[in-house]
């Protein structure tokens, strides 16, 4: 017999929770909404799976990249250099206004828009923590990232995704199943049986702890981290 699958649909988790919890069909939609909420929380606060990496085109008219519709939080805006992602420098002082002209957004240097930032100094006066490939500032209000000093026409963004594809057949890793089922019963208890809510909350915490054990680096990875910190060069 084949091993069970490493993925499960969200619909099947709802069905299993209803069946095990002896809940009728009238709880189906409510449990489904609980599950969508629970899965989002899990991706945001517990597991690493919720981070997506995408390549985005720069709007060179106003030097912005738009956030994908499922983006909850931008983790990184970066450029690839020799196969590695190098994060642009976050600059909160950057001006993010644009000027409207003939119905479209433009940058007007009269108002200081679109100007390169003068931040980096080479030589001994230079400071670290700067990626010379460019600067960015996240504009959550307009759901985009404003850029400066960027020459490239595309960038890589890593972001936390809401993670919920609106289909019953969305597949999620099977190791989340127990935590999500308990989450459903917990939410149900909060509304239907508050006396049991604390019990389910504790079970949920335990289930989250188990999930976090899976993210602990292996001994080999720990050793690599250690080895990266020293070299054969003599230390003075």
């Amino acid at each position: 017999m084949a091993d069970t699958s490493a993925l499960i649909t969200i619909k099947d988790i709802v069905k299993e929770a209803l069946w095990q919890g002896k809940k009728g069909q009238t709880f189906y939609t409510r449990y489904f909404q609980y599950l969508l909420n629970g899965y989002r929380e899990l991706r945001l606060f517990t597991v690493e799976e919720g981070i997506k990496t995408v390549r985005l085109t720069v709007n060179t008219d106003i030097y912005t990249i738009s956030m994908p519709s499922d983006c909850i939080e931008v983790v990184k805006v970066a450029v690839p250099i020799k196969g590695e992602l190098w994060t642009l420098t976050n600059e909160e002082k950057m001006l993010t206004t644009t000027t409207e002209s003939a119905g479209s957004e433009t940058l007007d240097s009269t108002y200081g828009e679109g100007e390169d930032l003068v931040k980096y100094k080479s030589g001994y006066a230079g400071v670290g923590g700067v990626n010379v490939e460019g600067y960015y500032k996240i504009d959550y209000q307009k759901r985009r990232v404003k850029l400066a000093n960027v020459d490239t026409t595309w960038l890589v963004m890593q972001y936390k995704s809401s993670g919920v594809s609106l289909s019953e057949t969305t597949y999620i890793p099977v190791q989340y199943k127990e935590a999500l089922k308990i989450y459903l019963w917990w939410q149900d208890a909060l509304c239907e049986n508050p006396n049991m809510a604390e019990y389910y909350r504790k079970l949920y915490r335990d289930a989250l702890d188990k999930l976090q054990y899976l993210t602990v680096p292996t001994a080999e990875e720990f050793l690599d981290i250690l080895r990266k910190s020293y070299s054969p060069l003599p230390q003075r």
Binding site: K22, T26, Y28, T29, L166, S167, E168
Partner: protein, 192 residues
Amino acid sequence: MTKLQLIDLVRKRFNMEYLDKRYIELVIGRAWSQLLNDVYNKNVDYLDFYAKEYTAQTVTLNSTTGRYYANFPAQIVNLQDPAEGVRVVSTTDGSDLEFVPISATEARYMKDLEVDLIDTLIQYVVYYDKIEFFRNMTASIASEGVNMSLVIPFEEYDYDEKIPIPHGQDNNLLIMVAQFLQGTVPENELNN
């Protein structure tokens, strides 16, 4: 036991053979529905045993409301559940669409929530004479009709059909029938 046998049993058991069987039928019907509610009010899913399947029921578009609906092929028993006596609704081709009962109030609250946008979920609201489909019912599904499993009242059964009495409840059924029969005019006082 068939419906007719149960009616005859009641008429003989309570010495009411002088009454029309339709009167006894109505009385048993009240007791039978009450019994189903009493026994299964904690988990109406066990009522599936009492459901009768009706296949390929016509689904029609109400052009005023823009919603599809299907009339009941028979009356249903009212239960303490948004699904009432509707136990299962499914497509005729056995596709994986999920039909889920909700109340009309829930439908209003759920409108445009994430769960409301899931495209393989067909919500339905049960009214006394029909079910109305919210979201995701399409013309192609509607054209095939739907299957329904319904818990129907005692009166809807044919006289030669077997009646599923809840297990261990035969005695309670007769007690309830006796209670419903109280007040019936005795034979010697009938003006016939």
